[in-house]
Amino acid sequence: MHRLWKVIILLVILSPLGIIVPYLLNAGSAWGEWGPDEIKELIGYVPSGLEKLSDLGKPLFPDYNLKGWEEKPLTYQSIGYIVSGLVGILIVVGVTLLLGKVLSRR
């Protein structure tokens, strides 16, 4: 299983491709995942219920980046992306181990 964890680490290191390639090919948000500003550009207004709910979450790493690094060049964003990947994996692995142990037969 060590070998498979190495594959995961390799994928984390390569993960900035997931923001660099879309940038190079001029691709935007996923369909239906636009922020309020993008919605306004698309349909001319922001639906009122959507606007109210849209800033509900206060994520620690918005868009898999470090806070305040949104406007930084792609190199910084790539670092933020890798850090986010590592943090995210640590948390999901921890929670899965915990819940798995609770659920599994002894």
Partner: protein, 225 residues
Amino acid sequence: MHIPDGYLGPQTYVTMFGIMAPIWIKASRVLNRTLKMSQVPLLALGAAFSFVIMMFNIPIPGGTTGHAVGGVILSILIGPWATLLVITIVLVIQALIFGDGGITAIGANCFNMGFILPFVGYYTYRLISGNSPLNSKRRIIAAGIGGYIGLNAAALFTAIELGLQPIISHTDKGVPLYSPYPLSITVPAMLGEHLILFGWVEAVVTMAAFAYLLKTNFIKEWEYA
């Protein structure tokens, strides 16, 4: 495919939590009965894999992006109920820590990506692979088709949930309160891009991971494959 906060009105997102509640309870009962302590590290590996594979946004040049979920290869490896648990954990962390997918939409997103995707994908894989040997070409192709169909089924449900919003919630003058596009737009848009590109990405991820797990002699211990 991660529906953000604000796209689903309360009627829909509460309903989706209501639909997921018995499914989550059923999952915990099944796992309570079947999950062995020794399998738990593999579930954790699966969670890490699903998390990182979703970071690889694949672009349609000049258009939108999408990504694989990894849910079908996980269901082949650990079974669909364990996959539901793993993807639920991933989606909750993505919503809370990374703002990917809404907090109010956790029920809907878990239904689409955590339930529909692995179950449809897994049973498609089982149906096509039949009794063929584990290392046969037919198995790998079955895994790929499972990935393709699973992701597209999830995209279809996402599109339906979004497309119902203008019907369910609007002002007196008919202006949508939440996701603004009707079914006639959401279904072709979501399903189209997944049929054309993102479904294939899930298929390739599923087949590549399946072949790799076979080659490294990893998959043969697993009862679900």
